[in-house]
Symmetry: C2
Subunit: 316 residues, 2 copies
């Protein structure tokens, strides 16, 4: 068995994952990211040791951790993690010392892709891409049945693909990144912008002081499903640019399968059908079929399961 750790900006999930990607047990704790990295890592070690201790001795072989940022897998170092404000942290060495296990770190979205590749819908697929649609947009790219990390560990950073011009800049400092159009954050931002106009909507408008936190992605999707025109306009913009991003991926590697995961995948068929329809609309060769687009098998658990299976993969 393996210890899987999914380090997020809001929550940390830690679990025992078996060889087949089944979650044997797991716990979630808040990240409280304003704390020092050492305090957060200490929490991970404490919870990890508790879970490993609950298993028969010697049955947990290694640990894997998914990090929302750039990881240099060859050095076991978090190069940069904008969400948490972490830079140059030797995460593998520190955790390995605290957990007394070999530890393998990777990008969280890439690791979610590994879950689907080892035990989910990407199993046996030659060329595939997983997009994790949440606060940001992450990716996992598989070519020749191997996860692509890239020359500088920035393969699959598809959230930073430029797909148009936007009304606000990306956290990377540029304008037009896919995640500023098609992440949950982008959906909320654009909906707020629409709500500040006169469009008819059932969504709460609020004023500039109390607007923050009053609407979220789930509320917008629910309103859109109920026929709210403003919410539908916002969802359609997410879909428009996501389809461009997907087609841009097709121009590079034309994958067999494109898998969507992350929090936004909870919007279900309503969202997926819109994406598939729009991808058909923006095909560059009308008569040539494009990659199949489906949801992942593991939903929100892909990061945790993938972390365990990543440890298994790397330990081999």
């Amino acid at each position: 068995m393996y210890l899987g750790i999914d380090l997020g900006g809001t929550k940390i999930a830690v679990g025992i994952i078996d060889e087949n990607g089944k979650i044997i047990e797991h716990e979630r704790i808040p990240t409280r990211r304003s704390r020092l990295p050492s305090a957060i890592i200490e929490d991970i070690i404490t919870l990890g040791n508790k879970l490993v201790g609950s298993q028969a001795e010697g049955t947990v072989y290694a640990a894997g951790i998914g990090v929302p940022g750039i990881v240099d897998a060859s050095k076991g170092v978090i190069v940069n993690c904008v969400n948490l404000g972490w830079k140059d942290i030797s995460i593998e060495a520190i955790l390995s010392n605290g957990l007394d296990l070999p530890v393998f770190a990777g990008n969280d979205a890439t690791i979610a892709g590994i879950a689907e590749m080892e035990a989910g819908v990407l199993r046996g697929i030659k060329t595939g891409v997983m997009l994790t649609l949440g606060t940001g947009i992450g990716g996992a790219v598989i070519c020749e049945q191997r996860i692509q990390h890239g020359a500088n560990n920035i393969a699959s950073e598809i959230g930073h693909m430029i797909v148009g011009q936007n009304f606000y800049n990306c956290s990377c400092g540029r304008n037009g990144c896919l995640e500023t159009f098609s992440s949950a954050t982008a959906l909320v931002k654009y909906t707020r912008r629409l709500l500040s106009g006169s469009g008819i909507s059932s969504l709460p408008r609020g004023n500039s002081r109390n607007q923050n936190g009053r609407i979220n992605g789930t509320m917008i999707f629910d309103a859109a499903k109920a026929g709210d025109p403003l919410a539908n306009k916002a969802v359609d913009r997410v879909v428009k640019y996501l389809a461009i991003g997907i087609m841009n991926i097709v121009t590079v590697i034309d994958p067999d399968l494109i898998v969507l995961g992350g929090g936004m995948s909870e919007a279900g068929d309503f969202f997926l059908e819109k994406i598939k329809k729009e991808a058909e609309n923006v095909k560059f060769f009308k008569e040539i079929p494009i990659s199949e687009i489906i949801y992942g098998k593991f939903g929100q658990d892909a990061g945790l399961i993938g972390a365990g299976l990543y440890a298994k993969q790397r330990k081999r």
Copy 2:
């Protein structure tokens, strides 16, 4: 030895290529593309047989042909070739019959990439991309040391990556494709647009009737090198979007090496240095290095050499 055929919209190059990618002899003939496919193919067969006949009997093992369009390599069929207006042509069977050799067909830009991969700057590279910058923009994508054809034979169609909004539509019917910003055709179109305004330039302005054909990419690059402000503005726009396209490729596969070829590469260091500088400017993580960007080894001959080496590769 192998027979290489580079089928272009204007010219057809046919040559004898040795095992190492050296051109033993070759000839070029005009395509005269308004003719029926059968007449053009007949010309290829006649020239091919002449060149094969000039070699000792049995020393030419196979033929390769690069086509400016979509090829289904598993069936040996040209699916669609917009430039020539060809559709559903069993090119391998027809040529094989006329040449009495095994024939292997592929996309011309992909085949140019194969030349660099087998005998040029992409040799031994794990992940690499070649962009052929000419009338359009073609690509070749290498992952895990293998050329990527994709699930539907449209991998490496990077000319159709959407990178912004443009003042004219792409031949594919969409707006914003990389080749409408950064091909030689795009350079000429944008320069003409600038020339219709009041910007100072040494380039010939002409009127709407005699403008066609009066300027070309080489003239614009030469003027830009000589300091012409309007020509530089046009080149800089080509460079701006090419850098976005390159960085978008990096977000997917983060290649070890990006190789530029095609007619526009004749603009030399002037062009390459601008591209490298702009790619640095549009990096999404400022502190992380990006793929090296260089010119290919074979320049305009990459298509012909690649066709021979593709035949060698497929014949194995």
